[in-house]
């Protein structure tokens, strides 16, 4: 029987497959090259670290969102939950410190609260999605409202200042490298391992690719979906801590639209809205592309309003690429 390898036409490179594999990486290199050509400030060490720091929160959120989109889910609540978790973190820390607790245990408790609330909101949504087979778009839209309401109630609509030494999480660094960049790298690595190296990751692809077939293959779909949301919840909690400690304050109105930036990064990186396709490497590229475009527009002093339009155009371009290279799902 002629089987694998025998038929592998080496010379005939399938352009689409090639693009799907390396295309976004090439686009990223191209944009990096263009950016360094446009502005001499771009390739400086400070600026690169600056860009990485700026994309850290969105990239962390994008990791979980990539998994969810691959699974055929999505999450619109991430921005609100980042604000909620972040404010809860700095608020808790401030209260504990005021009560006389030492720095280390207060940090730990504050961090724990943030992660807990991130997981709790996502778990609640996931359970509803799983129990009622509800559309994740709507359920997480509702969660977005609830979380934003909660953060305003918690902060009484006020910003939290004088957050103390916990600001070091968002602002500190080891040598040249900020903690936030290191944390981003750790979460990227964890996500890559989950998707590529574990059975659980395979199940995520299978569920997004064909849920009915996943069920008929003995995969317990709902627990997998709930666990994915829970993992995403951890990431969102961490993202919240980084966000607010970097701002050195608790800002209940911050993080609006963060989830869309994360979704954009995932889609640009080749994650298919139809489910079943996507990689963490792609999401990194997507996130870097957005970060660099923002950065270069800032370096060129382009107004924020124009930047928004450009971001919109990038999304449209990414979606067209998605359809052109992966084909629409019938």
């Amino acid at each position: 029987m002629p089987d694998i390898a025998q038929r592998t036409g080496k010379g005939r490179a399938d352009l689409k497959a090639l693009y799907n594999k390396y295309g976004i990486f090439c686009v990223m290199l191209l944009i990096l090259a263009t950016a360094s050509g446009i502005s001499p400030a771009f390739l400086t060490r400070t600026n690169i670290i600056n860009v990485l720091t700026q994309i850290s929160v969105v990239t962390i959120v994008a990791c979980g969102i990539t998994m969810l989109i691959i699974e055929g889910m999505t999450d619109l609540s991430a921005g609100s939950v980042v604000a909620l978790a972040g404010c809860l973190c700095v608020g808790t820390n401030k209260a504990l410190a005021a009560g006389g607790m030492g720095a280390a245990p207060a940090f730990a408790l504050a961090l724990g609260c943030a992660v807990l609330v991130g997981v709790a909101v996502n778990l609640a949504g996931a359970l509803i999605i799983a129990r009622y087979d509800a559309p994740p778009f709507i359920v997480t839209l509702a969660a977005m409202q609830v979380a934003r309401g909660l953060v305003y109630i918690y902060t009484n609509g006020q910003q939290i200042y004088d957050i103390g030494r916990i600001a070091a999480i968002g602002q500190g660094r080891i040598g040249m490298v900020p903690y936030s960049v290191l944390i981003m790298a750790a979460i990227l690595a964890a996500s890559w391992v989950i998707l590529r190296k574990t059975r659980f990751g395979r199940y995520i692809y299978a569920i997004g690719g064909n849920k009915a077939a996943a069920v008929a293959s003995g995969i317990k779909v709902n627990p997998v979906i709930v666990k994915t949301f829970a993992i995403h919840g951890v990431f969102v909690g961490v993202a919240g801590v980084l966000y607010m400690t970097r701002l050195n304050s608790g800002q209940p109105a911050e993080g609006v639209g963060l989830e869309f930036d994360a979704i954009t990064a995932a889609i640009i990186g080749g994650t298919s809205m139809a489910g079943g396709l996507g990689t963490i490497a792609g999401t990194i590229c997507g996130s870097v592309i957005i970060g660099v475009v923002n950065n270069i527009l800032n370096l060129l002093f382009v107004q924020a309003y124009y930047q928004q339009i450009i971001k919109g155009l990038i999304i449209v371009l990414a979606v067209i690429l998605d359809i052109k290279t992966k084909g629409k799902r019938s």
Binding site: D3, R7, G9, Y205, A206, A212, A213, A216, K220, K326
Partner: protein
């Protein structure tokens, strides 16, 4: 109708000369020339991957040929889209029907070419319904133009597609495996319609895998193999065996591999399976190394029982015994854990993860039940999948190829590999050869025999009676949710099975 249409002469409606089409890595069509005579039923046969679908898609204007040309009624024919093809008199009825379930029958018939009120903005609903009613009456169909499409059976929906084709004044209708989802009785009805089309001078190009059907309706048969046109002859010049040989390019023997398995102890027994009106009081057992066939018409409850055993659907009552011990199956996971697996009849819906690779699809179940670790051992996975690929003769450009890019037969083999990697004791195969070409069918039969020899028990649900009779050690016939009869090997004939399956009325 006489004479060889590959020769010049005759009233030729469609002429294909030297059509060629390549896809990356595959030469799908190679210099295909063919003549189709007006008012004939021209059957095109070939294994999956032989190029039938590509050829039809070229005729329908979905693909553009790389080389060669077509002539329709003597004039050059270069369709740019299916809509264009339809306007020139060629309609295609796909295997998967193109209907909008939420719209009415009339709206479906006129989809995309609705009669308009003067001004061309609003649809003239009155005229649309009147015209549709006329067409439906002309064809003697028993439903109303206002019926929602979703209330129709598959075969009725097919009739709507035929009405649609006729209403477009089609001179050539292409049917791609139209009987893959309808009952024998409905097949008879479809064939009457085809005969009527012929009488009206309409030409039908018919693609099928089913030998019995082919010889019932074909005037001419063309064989494609590996993208080449092998032969076209009047149907009478072929017989079943010669046709199969031409299709696969080798001799096949009886079409079913040798029997003579010696069943061992009981592998699976179910008792009193009941769920509402779907099935009642179903009890049977299957032994190691035995093939138990289950016959029955569509809707007899065969698939429903199988899904209930497999834990996909609930049941009201009934017990399962695996190797004599009572088993508790609440979900698919439990069933697989006990060594019971099921290959679904609907490969696309319940089988493949289309955009994932051969490896990932093949190892989806094995990850847990063979490897058993949360961590994926990639070297082990590659080796396990390679072994299955070689054993089942899966043809794929690479193990990383998306499964959706393989032919139906190869997809089915990957799905079989998936279940074999779970280490099954009992395999329930629901229509394991549906929509698969003859060559791949034979390979699947051979595999079934091999599995029996290794002591696996097989429950095969099939609507193809020759296959059931050729492969089964015992045949169970279901009718309206109950077991209507059992046949031992050698006792069963198609007529007897059909008599039981139709409730003893004897409509064979």
């Amino acid at each position: 109708m006489s004479g060889d249409p590959s020769m010049a002469g005759g009233d030729c409606v469609l002429e294909l000369s030297a059509l060629g089409k390549s896809f990356p890595g595959v030469r799908a069509l190679d210099e295909v020339s063919m003549r189709v005579l007006r008012g004939s039923v021209h059957v095109i046969v070939g294994e999956n991957g032989a190029g039938k679908s590509t050829l039809m898609k070229i005729i329908d204007g979905i693909y553009e040929p790389d080389s060669g040309e077509m002539r329709l009624d003597g004039a050059p024919y270069r369709p740019s889209s299916p809509t264009h093809a339809r306007s020139l008199g060629i309609s295609m009825i796909f295997q998967e029907l193109n209907v909008v379930p939420e719209l009415s029958v009339a709206e479906n018939i006129f989809l995309g070419r609705e009669p308009m009120r003067p001004g061309g903005i609003f649809i003239d609903d009155a005229r649309l319904n009147r015209l549709a009613a006329e067409y439906i009456a002309e064809q003697g169909l028993g439903f109303s133009p206002a019926d929602p499409m979703k209330s129709l059976s598959v075969s009725q929906a097919q009739m709507v597609e035929i009405v649609k084709a006729i209403s477009c004044k089609a001179k050539l209708v292409i049917m791609d495996e139209p009987t893959s989802a309808i009952t024998d009785k409905e097949v008879g009805y479809l064939f009457e319609k085809i005969a009527e089309l012929k009488r009206q001078g309409v030409t039908v190009i018919y693609i099928s895998h089913k030998m019995d059907e082919i010889f019932r309706i074909a005037d001419y048969i063309s064989v494609l193999r590996d993208g080449r046109h092998i032969e076209t002859r009047p149907a009478a010049a072929f017989n079943r065996d010669s046709l199969i040989e031409l299709m696969v390019g080798r001799e096949l023997g009886s079409g079913y591999p040798g029997q003579g398995s010696s069943p061992g102890p009981e592998a699976l027994r179910i008792e009193g399976f009941t769920r509402g009106r779907a099935f009642r009081g179903i009890s049977f057992s299957v032994r190691k190394g035995e093939i138990l066939g289950i016959a029955g018409l569509m809707g007899a409850g065969r698939t429903e029982v199988a899904r209930a055993i497999f834990g996909l659907d609930p049941r009201d009552s009934g017990e399962v015994y695996v190797e004599g011990a009572r088993a508790d199956i609440g979900c698919v996971d439990d069933a697989i854990g006990l060594g019971i697996v099921m290959v679904s009849e609907d490969r696309r819906k319940y089988g493949i993860i289309p955009m994932r690779s051969v490896t990932e699809n093949a190892n989806l179940v094995g990850l847990k039940y063979r490897a058993g670790s949360w961590w994926i051992d990639e070297a082990d996975e590659r080796a396990a999948v390679r072994e299955q690929v070689e054993r089942l003769g899966i043809k794929a450009p690479s193990a990383e190829t998306e499964i959706a890019k393989l032919s139906g037969g190869n997809q089915q083999k990957v799905i079989l590999a998936k279940w074999l990697l779970a280490g099954p004791k009992v395999m329930i195969l629901d229509e394991p050869t549906r929509g698969i070409d003859v060559g791949a069918k034979y390979e699947i039969y051979k595999l079934m025999r091999e599995l029996c020899e290794r002591g696996i028990a097989i429950v095969m649900i099939s609507s193809e009676l020759p296959e059931l009779i050729g492969m089964s050690d015992r045949i169970l016939v279901m009718c309206a949710g109950r077991i209507a009869g059992t046949f031992e090997r050698g006792e069963a004939t198609q007529v007897e099975i059909m008599r039981k399956a139709t409730g003893g009325i004897g409509n064979a």
